[in-house]
């Protein structure tokens, strides 16, 4: 046999074998939907399904479908009754009494009781748990003291099961946003007997018990999680029989699987920018602004940004409408720190683009036409979107103020390390809401908050945020936040809000009742699959 014939024969054998194997090996779902099954991409392995040690959106996407807290969010981000069918707010907002429904069940059929909440909340605060989100409960009496080791007795913490169906929570001071925390994954109940029995292995599918619409049936680490309907769920079992959550890291690969009908739903994690543009007019495409803002921060302790006129000038010299054009993922320009969807948003807090006024302010600060402006570094993490943003800021500041900025990129953890230790004059950072309340945004720039990398400290702002967080009258509260937002974006300008992120999604036509929300939480309890015509 000549060599060419041999090569031809070998190629034919390999190709035929590949085709045969692919025909037998591929799922029958390649050309369509999978009945009663919803297939999505998580992109990465959830670091933990222990809802008290989870801190990331991937874990919460799974836990949100496994667990229900005292309350639960609807897609308008309002708190609806969850395990608690009703609650009382007493003592001017300092005391909450939750009355639990008696038909809430764990997946093993046992009832969800107030004792499960008491145990869970005390475990969340226990220093040995080392839960990152323990601070969510710091508004509770003695919670901080217990978590920081100042007191050792958990019984002193202001949470108590008064009986099987009544759960009492006493706060140090009123917190108007507190109810939102009871819908958050970290505050969901836990079963002491399960954790005692299985120790660190309690989250494995064969051990875990949950109380939400779905239960976990498979966890193939770094690859796939499967959930199935929980027959004991108090709202009745969901219509979906199964959810397959894959962990496909590469956006283009996940998008290819969606195109091949092997995924039913994709979001930003699986949606390459080029494809967002290509499919924007598709009937399958949907987008929604998120409660996540990107901003440029100033270290106000470093020259020349210790002068608020310089900060104001920079803010006025940046045209926010350019960022959506550069980033191309449907971002919305941000002119305020409080997003338009939340109470406290006010048009009067907006920082407008006005290069002429910016040049005037810079001249007043001693830098006419940018002359004599000191070398200014802008720190940003190694990410494509961050790079595009800071490059645009650099170009605009040069064009409008004749000031040269020096960009400094760093690997993510190195970037965070610099930010935590010694923030440079300027940096690019983002913030996403923990709960749908202006407090989660405004608290960031109070003097005491560890996320305030600007080193800006303003007693008027701190006082406004403190008072607003305790205020029970929503109208008065919104007015206080609006005043604080104006201080932040117009008067003092320790930050320049740049844009609001957007969730870009595509959903197959057979997926029904899928909802979206600005917190980007994935709730699938109402989703169902309808056979395509």
């Amino acid at each position: 046999m000549s060599q060419s014939r041999f090569l031809k024969a070998a190629a034919t054998v390999v190709f035929t074998a590949a085709t045969l194997i692919s025909t037998t090996g591929c799922s029958s779902t390649v050309d369509g939907y999978e009945p009663d099954t919803f297939r999505i991409n998580l992109q990465a392995e959830p670091p933990s399904l222990d809802w008290q040690t989870s801190t990331d959106s991937t874990s919460f996407d799974v836990v949100s479908n496994l667990m229900t807290g005292l309350t639960q969010y609807n897609n308008d981000m309002k708190c609806e009754p969850g395990c608690a069918e009703k609650w009382e707010v007493l003592d001017g907002g300092k005391h909450f009494v939750f009355h639990l429904r008696k038909n809430a069940r764990w997946t093993d059929g046992k009832p969800v009781t107030a004792h499960d909440f008491e145990y869970a909340w005390k475990r969340l605060l226990n220093p040995a748990t080392a839960a990152s989100y323990a601070f969510f409960l710091y508004d509770i009496e003695n919670a901080y003291e217990y978590n920081s080791g100042k007191i050792k007795d958990a019984e002193l913490v202001g949470v108590k099961a008064l009986d099987d169906w009544t759960f009492s929570v006493k706060l140090k001071r009123p917190a108007a946003y507190f109810l939102y925390l009871t819908a958050f994954c970290s505050t969901c109940p836990l079963r002491k007997d399960i954790i005692d029995k299985y120790g660190d292995r309690w989250t494995e599918p064969q051990n875990i018990v949950t109380n939400g619409p779905f239960k976990i049936t498979l966890w193939k680490h770094e690859y796939k999680i499967e959930l199935s309907a929980n027959p004991h769920f108090f709202e009745g079992p969901p219509r979906l029989k199964k959810i397959k959550m894959f962990m496909i890291p590469e956006q283009a690969t996940a998008f290819g699987l969606f195109e091949n009908n092997q995924l039913d739903y994709i979001d930003n994690r699986s949606f390459p920018t080029a494809d967002v543009e290509r499919f924007r007019s598709s009937p399958l495409y949907r987008s929604l602004p998120l409660l996540r803002c990107s901003y440029i921060g100033f270290n106000v302790k470093k020259k020349p940004f210790d002068d608020k006129r310089v900060r104001q000038a920079f803010s006025m010299a940046i045209d926010r409408t350019l960022f959506p054009k550069i980033l191309r993922r449907g971002e919305r320009p941000a002119y305020t720190w409080i997003p338009p969807a939340l109470d406290g948003y006010s048009e009067e807090s907006k920082s407008e683009f006005d290069p002429q006024a910016a040049r005037k302010l810079l001249a007043e600060a001693g830098y006419p036409e940018g002359k004599g402006f000191p070398l200014t570094k802008v720190l940003y993490p190694q990410r494509e979107d961050a790079k595009l943003v800071v490059e645009s800021v650099q170009e605009q500041i040069k064009k409008n103020l004749n000031v040269k900025l020096q960009l400094e990129v760093n690997e993510w953890k190195v970037y965070l390390d610099i930010l935590h230790r010694d923030p440079p004059q300027m940096f690019r950072q983002t913030w996403g809401a923990d709960y749908p309340d202006p407090e989660t945004f405004m608290n960031v720039f109070t003097t005491r908050n560890g996320n305030n990398y600007t080193r800006w400290s303003n007693s008027e702002f701190d006082d406004l945020v403190d008072k607003a967080s305790a205020e029970q009258n929503q109208k008065k509260r919104a007015a206080m936040y609006a005043k604080g937002d104006k201080l932040l974006c117009q008067d003092e300008v320790p930050i320049i809000p740049i844009y609001w992120a957007t969730q870009n999604t595509m959903v197959k036509p057979w997926v029904k009742e899928i909802g979206f929300n600005a917190m980007d939480l994935q709730f699938f309890r109402k989703v169902y699959i309808e056979k395509p015509n």
Partner: protein, 306 residues
């Protein structure tokens, strides 16, 4: 031969200790820690986390704790994946990488060695040019490009192979081909050079002059001797392939070990960094020992000194 293997294994202990020590202190010198996150945590919570993972102790003490645990076979815990040990993570991921890497290694040898031999034997012909063009492409084109190209052709356009995932033997074909492409190309070049060198030897000419056919000379007398340098690279190549590839696993969503070489570092997942490094080092030592044994089988004149 047994003595040689024993000697290799005994020298492995100090080598692994040096690797462990260097890795341990180098990773602590890199800025940023495992709990640095987008949202800065209150100091009380950072203190709780550091206490839980014993990161509140001096680095030297942490080193002693780590070595003591390592001596007992405990590779530590992950700081990123809560409640999972490094052994849990690697024991789940390694079989996948081993499977994919073995397939890729087999493909690389099956394609690379014959291609290189053919190119050498047909030196200067179009076959040689084509084989060397392919192997240059294989070495220079990154795996990401090769993978994306294969996915597009076979997964999206022809729809005859799965785009990604790890569900059936069919799902292994494209990733194995992607992973094998570059080593096959390298082996082809190496084999070609080696075969050409052997073909010039006097004893090959003697074999031909005695009337042995061209292919018989190549297969019986040339190839066996030409394989020595190929076997040399097979040691490290095996270790590299069976510990997984970040790019291929990332691209095809394969739950292998390759990703941890990168993500453990970016997450500052200290024990996982140590675990992946030590496993790779140990595999390198073992595969090199196998290569030494293979030398003696291929050419008994080669007495390997430990």
């Amino acid at each position: 031969m047994l003595a040689l293997i024993l000697k290799r294994l005994l020298t492995a202990v100090p080598v692994l200790l040096v690797v462990a020590t260097l890795t341990f202190f180098l990773m602590r010198m890199v800025p940023g820690g495992p709990f640095d996150a987008d949202k800065n945590l209150p100091p009380a919570i950072v203190a709780n986390l550091n206490a839980k993972y014993q990161l509140d102790k001096p680095v030297a003490e942490q080193y002693v704790i780590y070595l003591t645990r390592l001596a007992k076979g405990d590779l530590g815990i992950s700081y990123k994946y809560v409640n999972r040990t490094v052994l849990d993570i690697l024991s789940e991921a390694m079989p996948v990488s081993l499977q994919l890497g073995s397939a890729a290694l087999l493909l690389a040898v099956i394609i690379g060695v014959p291609l290189g031999t053919l190119a050498a034997v047909k030196r200067g012909t179009w076959l040689d040019v084509a084989a060397m063009f392919l192997s240059t492409a294989g070495i220079s084109v990154p795996g990401f490009v090769t993978g994306a190209f294969l996915i597009f052709i076979f997964g999206i356009w022809l729809k005859i192979l799965p785009v990604a995932l790890w569900e059936s033997p069919a799902h292994m074909i494209l990733p194995a081909l992607t992973l094998a492409f570059s080593p096959a190309a390298y082996l082809a070049r190496l084999t070609r050079a080696s075969v050409l060198e052997i073909l010039e030897k006097d004893w090959v000419r003697t074999a031909r002059s005695k009337g042995l056919s061209h292919w018989s000379t190549v297969m019986k007398h040339t190839l066996r001797n030409a394989l020595v340098p190929v076997v040399t690279v097979l040691g490290p190549l095996t270790a590299i392939l069976i510990t997984g590839s970040f790019v291929v696993e990332y691209l095809y969503a394969i739950p292998g070990m390759g990703r941890f070489f990168v993500t453990a570092v970016t997450n500052r997942d200290y024990d996982l960094i140590m675990g992946t490094t030590l496993i790779f080092a140990a595999l390198l030592i073992v595969t090199n020992a196998i290569v030494d044994v293979a030398y003696q089988i291929l050419d008994p004149r080669m007495k390997v000194e430990g």
